[in-house]
Symmetry: C2
Subunit: 355 residues, 2 copies
DNA sequence: AAAGAAAATGCAATCGATTGCATAATTGCT
DNA sequence: AGCAATTATGCAATCGATTGCATTTTCTTT
């Protein structure tokens, strides 16, 4: 009926979208043929394909992915759950995932657990109900049970953990070698001539912080230095936490002359405090942080830290996940350890002859 | 047949998931009843509801959102397209969106355009095909046509632009007052006694950079200062760009003594360069940046800048979008301008009597 | 020209949940 | 007890695309 209101064809198609059936009807062929043609199925002749595609274009046909998803039981969507989107390490990681996912034709749904176990559980259920093809996760600080992930493991839906992983969980993992990082950081401080080295750790229920601390201890031992409980503080590594920790350390009878911090944020706040007390860095006191936050390079003094290849980790996680999605083999679980690097900057560089 | 292998009930349900039909069959009732019961439809008696919910729990039933989406034509999903996830302003914005979306029961699909128009187009199509209920976007630097968004506008699918918005597009927008920000920054420098103030702008095809520049000009005029072309440089505001710009400015016959930069990154690189040249900040030279990056507070000197309420913008955008999704009224398009704040720090604070 | 092979297209069920419109079961009331 | 009024449940179509298995059309070949 309405053949050409041309000038404003918008108004008419508001109601319903164009479907393959509309195309089929108009061309007096079956919907199957249309579907196959649009998917370049070789069973359809080139002539009909052309005809169909031309009409599809003309009608502004847009496939309904939902319908396709339902039928094919695939959504080409991967879910990501991180503690906090708004943090450099995680947003860089997500960016890495998105890059790879986009190239492979996958969408990315993200959620943040806010480090709350309950929220993490809800999210995982929701993502499952949304039938994501795979899931990439870094655990919340509170996560001490893993039943919610069984939704995925039970159905053999690929799952990749990164950074904060469950040590005993059978799953794929992307990590860095936190132990070796902790070791390198501490050894570096020792090499720079610092004598009493403290450590500010995050919650050691998390593998990352636990391993960093173990690396720290091992380095001390290797160098015949005592591991002293009073030199090890454990908290959530906020700015406030960093300041409290350094105050506590300086108040010791025999205070340290260097600290290896579990992250850059706490390292920064220590630096700020030390400067305010007139303590010179690195001359009087050495600091090494962790994660290489963007600010670490530009503060004064710049912060020595461990560089986690966040973007690469994300890319790798996505590759791994997508590979598993598309080659559903009951393969063994892998743990991929990506290289991380000690970046020596002003806050700990006392000798000019670097190693 | 397989009644109780209990210990390891995982293995069996790998194949197919539990559906409402399974529950219906087992209870010898109809699937409709099951569906209604699970949705707490008042038409179902409490007794049957209890029975159904109990069984659903026992069988580990998980609703198939895809099927529901198809039937109801709603996905409870909103799409976000940003130039780059891995940047503080955008990741904070996304975080704000996710907070509100989660509370309202919506999922968030994110993609990054990488500032490429072609990628932006593909993403927008893909999100449309995925039938997101609404879209939140900040334009790519290249975006100079908007046809791809008509997919959404034609079908009355809610759309919110933020930050980088198309001035002439009929749509909802969340912005800050870039003009006034540019004005405030410049006026502040004038108040601090700087005499020749330059401006480093981003691509002025983008409203944000355009408006900041206009604010800058207006402030000069208001103070009877000349607007000089040679004092205005336009580039992409990378670190490299910042350094080149400051070199270029210092090489002028009559160089400026302050710069208002379009972002903090370029401001930072100017500071680094100026320091390397022995030029004192703020004594000899004043700098104001834009966006309040995390590093701006902690570098030396700390950078005066304009604080964009990224997280709040995200929250607001999500509220606006969801409201529109759920109250599909053909209301007028709104532009919400959120307050932004000049944060005065060391890089421009020459007089102690602020203001 | 006829028969067999190959190519192109169509039928109808399916994915899992939802919902308008019956129909069935129960309750209430005289 | 009988019938209307409630209340509870079921039927069957629907959302839009996909796909195994026909069936039809076209092309070869003798």
């Amino acid at each position: 009926m309405n053949s050409s209101i041309s000038s404003d064809s918008n108004k008419m198609d508001k109601k319903t979208s164009v479907t393959i059936h509309d195309i089929a009807r108009e061309l007096k062929i079956s919907a199957s043929t249309v579907s196959r043609a649009l998917n370049d199925n070789p069973r359809i002749s080139q002539a009909t394909k052309d005809k169909i595609k031309a009409l599809a274009l003309k009608l502004g046909y847009q496939p309904n992915t939902i319908a396709s998803n339902l039928r094919t039981q695939k959504t080409h969507t991967i879910g990501i759950v991180v503690p906090l989107i708004n943090r450099h390490f995680f947003s860089a990681f997500i960016s890495g995932v998105e890059d790879v996912a986009f190239e492979a034709g996958y969408n990315v749904i993200i959620s943040q657990s806010k480090d709350l176990l309950e929220k993490e559980k809800k999210i995982v259920h929701s993502l499952f109900s949304n039938r994501v093809d795979g899931l990439i996760t870094s655990l919340s600080m509170q996560t001490n049970e893993f039943d919610h992930f069984q939704l995925f493991t039970n159905k053999n839906i690929p799952l990749v953990f990164f950074d904060r992983v469950a040590p005993d969980l059978k799953a794929n993992k992307i990590v860095i070698d936190d132990f070796s990082c902790g070791f390198k950081a501490t050894q570096h401080l020792i090499d720079q001539g610092y004598k009493r080295i403290a450590h500010l750790a995050g919650p050691t229920v998390l593998n990352t912080y636990h391993d960093r601390m173990e690396g720290y201890k091992e380095a001390l031992r290797k160098n015949n230095l005592a591991v002293e409980d009073q030199l090890i503080i454990c908290n959530r590594l906020t700015r406030m936490d960093g300041q409290q920790a350094i105050q506590q350390l300086l108040a010791l009878k025999n205070p340290p002359d260097a600290v290896f911090c579990g992250n850059d944020t706490s390292a920064l706040s220590m630096i700020v405090y030390l400067k305010s007390q007139g303590i010179r860095i690195p001359e009087d006191f050495g600091i090494v942080g962790f994660s290489n936050e963007p600010f670490s390079e530009v503060v004064t003094p710049s912060i020595s830290t461990l560089k986690q290849p966040a973007q690469e980790m994300g890319a790798k996680a996505a590759q791994m996940l997508i590979h598993e999605i598309e080659n559903k083999t009951t393969q063994d679980y892998q743990t991929i350890t990506l290289p991380s690097e000690l970046v020596v900057r002003e806050s700990s560089l006392r000798n000019n002859d670097t190693k």
